[in-house]
Assembly symmetry: C4
Homo-oligomer: 257 residues x 4
């Protein structure tokens, strides 16, 4: 395999869908939010992305079955107050090299662009490295109107003390020249474990913003289950994420999405 | 050289061959198993693979002769109870970069696919970093039937506590969309030396699975010989493997195949 | 995105322009000089460069707005004693991989070459790692006439004790076969903070060389402002710069431009 | 610049030339040998190689003049007892990435192949990390006849305790499928300084092998001069070389050519 490619599993017809990116990162925050919505609302997988810039390995699941590195696209139709369509992006990895990340995020945006995506939400964790009492939700946006909207929903705008590393940042950045706009929501987390509290905080804000109703109660349960299933795998992801975290210093608040 | 390429040495006609991958990795486990079968049954080399993603170096053999980095394909015909054909993949290195590993493993599968390969066995060691009394054989499979079959042969299925890094994992993962299925067998080993015990354990299981008979006794002898010949070279390989081992933490059980 | 590309924002007609490169590096020296001239003389942005070899991330500004990694081209017309046109190159990052740096610097030179650039000034800091009483300006040139001219302006020619790493070096080196000539000016700086003193020293020499008049007084003010805005971002850049600094030893004077 | 390319400076007509590679490496051994022959016999430069896989930087010479990273081809005609033609390859750097090294060495061999090269000598140092009383010359060859010839000239064949990393190894390895054969000569050196003694030992053997007469006396003088000129630059090269030295452990004898 020499090129990133997307395998279509099902033809779907979507109307102005909202795109929600939740690839693995610090504290498993974004991934847990997306998995919760996907399962609670029954989102269906319709495409998979493979890339030679993913780690050269496979995961092994609890039944001893090999699972290749991939990203996965799920869709939902006519959800919430505004009866909106959705595309979710999940997966078990991100690209390793800078060039790989750009190629993968570009492919993702080209693909969702064909379905008419104009609004993007990227989800992740903001690792503090320290215990967090009540997790805040941090945010950034591609324009001032969206930034103001985030503040109305009690999202703390990130000041200029750092960037957003990985797919959560790059997808917003590469989306703008494609006429897409959006925000990144980051749950405050110590990092280094699967953080249901941070995920709940992000999920609550996200549901308000996209005007959809999902039972938040089961999130802790799902987090527990995920913890068991992927304790080690998540550790691998964390370390991969750290390797990608090529810029901030040891003492930095880190964000990888 | 800009592209991975395969040089055909001999035209061979194979019928539904079983493909066995045994590139160098932790404890030299897979490589030793393959070398043993190749020598005991007289498998013949029929192709070589070269890649710009191999380490930029050559090895020097005991006679002072330069040996380029390469992977090698051997074949056997009409072996064992079921009179099956076999392709073995050995060599002195694996690709260094993720993109290189994907390109190389893709080329390997394209090549063996032309011979009609549908069944894959990938061999390696699972490094524990600690002394091993009686080495277990760990395994993973591309589907539940194969996983069940492994358990019937006393192979311990790897739980979800990690992945399979390198060619042994990637060849299984990239084989599935090509309609190939298979298993990975990993001999428990402290790692860091040429482990004939772990190799014997893997060899015993492999021979049962492919229904072929090979004298296992000489394996220790071969291991000793290999130890002398490649003590330093193997150290180089180990360290290269470590460099590739970009994901697990220091305290992890490691598998590189 | 798979290739470095330049987005033209405005068609401009320039006559034999002087090209001044000031991408982020040690001590923020070159960047501060260029920003000062750009603001004081009202230079206008006319093009942006994007690259998959930039870090896979976005910055977030003080308003919580996402800012993609990019380089930016500004122009000025009919400035100074000789009524010369100018192109300035600024930005928030440099390429990460060697291959990326070559591709980006090559694109930059191809682009400015179309406007008839024959003279290049690249600006940066020379990090000493130690307190600097009165910052010297170090320099290097693409030919002996330019080197002699630097000495007339009290620039210390760098002896053979090292190279110029990054865009400031590469743009000069790749410019020569394109028939462009120029010099690199490096302000002596401890590094590791935004150094207005080093920038003032470089600015003073540069203005003499290009025969343009700009009020130097406000530079300290601008430095202070920049310090607040980008304290963390600059830290990120520094660390990125360190990562790129693949050659000199710990005890070395370092230059990254 | 996206591709490695060779710029021809002068058309030359060579008859079955011997190719001698001496790019910078441990102890500056090979480079010093080649520079000595080039100067003593008046070899002339006829081509230059540039590559995006070279370090993204320039060197600065003692006059403050920028010198791009490059490799250089020199030629000599009708030298020595057998009136042979020669091509020498020198330069100030090697490629950084594995893929870059393969691309560069492939280009080099394609280029010299056009002049009819069939015999290759690659020169370098074998770093022991310890003081060396009387430097031995180590060697490896592409076939047994050449290995035997080395032993006749008191060259110690390298046993299987390691490889030859970098251009000196790769050029031999990639030469074989092109129908070229040759040897690598490595002077025993503590490394980490410009080692005229190791160079003298290699030069003496080389002159015997190619049957050419050059005054060896001035080598120490040249070494001294080189030491002054490139003390820091060589340090940079050494560290680059170390970075490339991705395989051997700390305690290993190292060879980089």
């Amino acid at each position: 395999m020499k090129e990133t490619f997307i395998k279509l599993i099902k033809d779907v017809d979507l109307n102005n869908p909202i795109f929600i990116e939740a690839l693995p990162g610090i504290g498993h925050v974004g991934k847990l939010v997306a998995e919760h919505i996907i399962h609670e609302l029954g989102a269906e997988k319709f495409a998979e992305l493979y890339s030679p810039s993913f780690p050269p390995q496979v995961f092994v699941d609890e039944d001893g079955i090999v699972e290749p590195m991939k990203n996965e696209f799920y869709y939902l139709q006519g959800q919430g107050e505004d009866e909106r369509d959705f595309i979710f992006l999940g997966g078990n990895t991100q690209g390793l090299s800078p060039e790989g990340q750009y190629a993968i995020c570009g492919s993702i945006l080209d693909f969702v662009g064909e379905y008419g995506v104009k609004e993007i939400y990227t989800l992740g964790g903001l690792g503090t490295g320290q215990p967090v009492e009540k997790p805040k939700v941090f945010g950034a946006a591609t324009n001032k109107e969206l930034a103001a909207m985030l503040q109305e929903h009690e999202v703390t705008l990130r000041s200029a003390d750092g960037g957003i590393i990985g797919a959560s940042g790059l997808i917003l950045g590469l989306g703008v020249p494609r006429g897409m706009h959006g925000v990144c929501l980051m749950g405050e987390t110590p990092g280094y474990f699967i953080d249901a509290d941070a995920s709940k905080a992000v999920l609550t804000v996200l549901l308000e913003l996209v005007k959809v109703d999902v039972d938040v109660a089961k999130l802790e349960e799902r987090a527990e289950e995920t913890r068991k299933m992927i304790s080690k795998a998540q550790q691998m992801e964390r370390e991969m994420a750290e390797r990608m975290n090529i810029v901030p210093g040891e003492e930095d608040l880190r964000y990888i999405g």
